[in-house]
Amino acid sequence: MRRRAVILLPLIVVVLLFAANGVLRQRLADAVESFPTPRPAVPPGWPAPRYDFSANPVTASGFELGRRLFHDPRLSRDGSISCASCHQQFAAFAHLDHRVSHGLNGANGTRNAPPLFNLAWQPELMWDGAIHNLELQPLAPLGNPVEMGETLEGVLPKLRADAGYRRRFEAAFGPGEIDSRRMLLALTQFVGTLHSADSRYDRDELSAQEREGLALFRQHCASCHREPLFTDYSYRGNGLDADSADLGRSVISGKAEDRGRFKVPSLRNVAVSAPYMHDGRFDTLAQVLRHYASGIQDSAALDPALRGGLSLNPEQQQALVAFLESLTDEAFLQDDRYAEPLP
């Protein structure tokens, strides 16, 4: 009996790999390609995430499908722009060197493409908090005429016409038509498991100067850039302009005092995700710190904590920059599971 099992087992595996239906083979390939598949996880000491994966459980096939959709320029109207065009892994999924990004036909956006990681903790998405639910976030760049300029009516037939996608959607979600919900759930499985929690700060491997920077950070910055996510997800004015050209949060809240207020961004991976601020006006962290020390402009939107600027001398600014650089998560930036998949 046991001997028969010994012969049968490899045979079953071989049959599964080569003779079984395409969906099963796809699931095996996905499990191998994403191994070990990133799963929703809460590092010790972190708050509970806001996005609930229990209604969208991450599977190898769902994650792999999401990764493909994220990197596929066919999601844009003319096939030129993918999500990854403006969200590059080496920049922590921000757009390196671009104050604002260019979409369809070279049209420019109005705000700096934010980095993407730990998105499951964001109560709202976007600089102004326009999007309530991570699942719905992809609809914004997809439909924006200066980004991907596409509609769901336009993109779904492209996916349905592709045998590879048909197989992948079935592997991820079972039989059934490719619809907007399945597309959005797959994208969420990918972007929602872009986990970054393995910087030198997290491993407690800071140098003396970085430690000094951390102490200054906790004194001057941490009330808004709250650890461990390095943001409290509030909307604040940080004194960029006396009269903000961008209405910011007020577009969403309808409140006049929110004009020029934007979401406090996380500072994880900040050293690799330049340029900075909602309009990408600063190219370096040194410029950012000079702004907080001596460039604050007063306005109704200005956060009271920043009135008059932060008192930071040049050495302290250097120590802070050193600390901020320790927030880079190299393993995240190099993780092959998040990279553009092979065709």
Binding site: E135, N144, D179, T188
Partner: protein, 257 residues
């Protein structure tokens, strides 16, 4: 033993049919009008209370969570699976079949009125990716700012200062929400839901009221309302759009239907 099992299996469809037969339905038919005239997309020429001429090119709205009221004041609320969007109905003047909805699983009895939500409730409006009538592919979802558009009215007017003489009203969002609960009594006579009698409620929905019922809207001054602040006057008018035009009772074909 086996034969007994087979016998029970053979009876199952019959048993299920018995169960179904007790679950009756009622139909709601919707006609769109402007004042006393029927609405004709693109072709019809109408005037609002302010005397402005206008056409209608697009009229769409959500009728959600319908429930029927019994004479004793209690309600029949159709039950649906938690994930489904079956309780949400997208009415689109351009799609004849969308102007008819069925309320199913209805116990036999008399009902004195119907209530529904014009729009989408907060829970679903703030939820994630959905299907059916709430599929964002239906084009009633704001992509740049989460939330459903509860009602769309678009057309042209020579009085509109916008390009092409267009006007566009998108009602949705808002805190408190611009969704409106609407109760329509059936009047003197309740509808009868019986095994042999199927009722149809004909609603007349007046686009003219949307422009004038409580807050008169001048297209010349409001060619566009795309955010909750601008659209609130329209939302407050919307409840007055709906009235019960007449009721029908027809013999129900055997076996449901």
């Amino acid at each position: 033993m086996r034969r007994a099992a087979l016998l029970i299996l053979a009876m199952l469809p019959g048993l299920a049919a018995c169960g179904r037969a007790l679950e009756l339905d009622a139909e709601i038919d919707i006609s769109h009008v402007v004042g006393s005239e029927p609405l004709r997309l693109d072709e019809g020429q109408y005037r609002n209370a302010a005397g402005e001429a206008f056409t209608v090119q697009r009229l769409r709205y959500y009728l959600s969570l319908p429930r029927l009221r019994r004479a004793d004041g209690s309600w029949f609320e159709p039950q649906h699976p938690a994930e489904s969007a079956d309780a949400y109905h997208l009415v689109d003047e351009a799609k004849a079949e969308s102007r008819r909805l069925r309320i199913t699983g209805l116990p036999a009895g008399k009902y004195v009125g119907i209530e529904f939500l014009l729009g989408v409730d907060d829970a679903r409006n703030h939820a994630g990716a959905q299907t059916g009538a709430l599929d964002p592919a239906r084009g009633m979802f704001w992509t740049w700012k989460s939330g459903y558009i509860f009602l769309v009215l678009e057309g042209t007017s020579p009085q509109s200062p916008a390009s092409g003489g267009r006007y566009s009203y998108h009602v949705g969002g808002g805190e408190p929400s611009l969704a409106r609960r609407i109760y329509l009594p059936f009047g003197e006579r309740p509808i009868r839901v019986e095994e042999r009698v199927k009722p149809t409620v004909h609603l007349a929905v007046d686009v003219g009221a949307l422009l004038s019922a409580v807050n008169p809207v001048r297209i010349a001054q409001l060619p566009e309302a795309m955010d909750p602040v601008a659209a609130r006057p329209l939302a407050d008018n919307a409840a007055a759009m709906f009235r019960v035009d007449h009721l029908h009772h027809e013999p129900r074909r055997r076996g449901g239907g």
